[in-house]
Symmetry: C2
Subunit: 192 residues, 2 copies
């Protein structure tokens, strides 16, 4: 990967333990959520990330933004580099402290102190050193569910994407429309 991406600023997702084939769709969803909820890019360890990089390039072309995807790098390299730039590392895990208890502190450091967040999402087994290297281990509920869901709920609290409007350089935008018969889901896409 191009390690210049690891600036310690902004929001970057680190996807651990990707297994080619088996995890392709899950990891693609992780990247799409990263993009839709306001992150700058994603790093996928244990993969060259070709599939996801290509999908996200297509999505950027239509829907805007500059979300990047990189692979072929070790998790420890990414985390060390991020921390060396004074970035903060947040590991999302059901075994962490609750999001409710940590979100305002993390949000303050991100928004006011302008410290970047590297948000780590794993699959089933996350090695112990990831917990130790992270500044925060944060649980989005203490129940087993989905790294995609955890990332979405965490980012939603940090970036408020529900309030956002059209992105720069987007070709398409959704115009939701209320219609006769109550709220029928008629919609338009409009080319700029």
């Amino acid at each position: 990967m191009n390690e210049d991406r690891l600036t310690g600023r902004g929001l970057v997702v680190l996807r651990l333990n990707h297994r080619n084939g088996r995890d392709d769709r899950i990891t693609t969803h992780v990247c799409l959520v990263g993009r839709a909820f306001g992150a700058d890019g994603a790093v996928i360890t244990d993969s060259d990330a070709t599939t996801q990089a290509s999908t996200l390039r297509k999505v950027n072309a239509q829907w805007g933004g500059r979300f990047w995807v990189e692979g072929s790098v070790r998790a420890t390299t990414v985390i060390s580099k991020w921390k060396s730039k004074r970035g903060i590392v947040v590991n999302l895990s059901m075994y962490g402290e609750s999001l409710q208890d940590t979100v305002s502190e993390i949000s303050y450091r991100y928004r006011i102190m302008e410290r970047g967040l590297l948000i780590v999402v794993g699959s089933s087994k996350v090695p112990g050193y990831i917990y130790k290297m992270s500044d925060y281990n944060v649980a989005v509920t203490h129940e087993p569910h989905s790294e995609i869901a955890a990332l979405a709920v965490f980012l939603e609290k940090i970036t408020k994407p529900l309030l956002s409007t059209r992105r720069e350089n987007a070709e398409l935008k959704v115009f939701p429309r209320l219609c006769n018969k109550g709220r029928v889901g008629v919609y338009e896409k409009e080319v700029q």
Copy 2:
């Protein structure tokens, strides 16, 4: 499926267009998110739902709750039955009205008026009649991302699962613990 589940009360997830094999993991994540974020059960169309039902039974056994999974039923049957019981149908789609604009009305009808919500999540192509049969078409951002993420963010607003504590009949519970050296992710599971 056992249609007596469709009471028009509580929260039920309806997963559309499941493709056996290809969608197995995504649909399992949908069910796990439904459970972790407080829904009562999930209906999977176009599948007998055996895989998901078995996974969720195991998760219930360890982590508590009574989340159920049913399959072998048509979407229109589920929606019609739900509406006949005065339940409300919410279709999550990037082409809908924004969550920000709809959540308080839906939340009011669910919490105060005690109308149940059937939350519909599709895969890529959701047929037009689903939009027409739904009471609300709700967009969790107007960007393409993930039905798992959309469901999680929607339910998080409705059920506030981040505030919840141990479930009845759970065998395991996470005890997050702050440790020396800042917030190191040491944790315990404890058997009751």
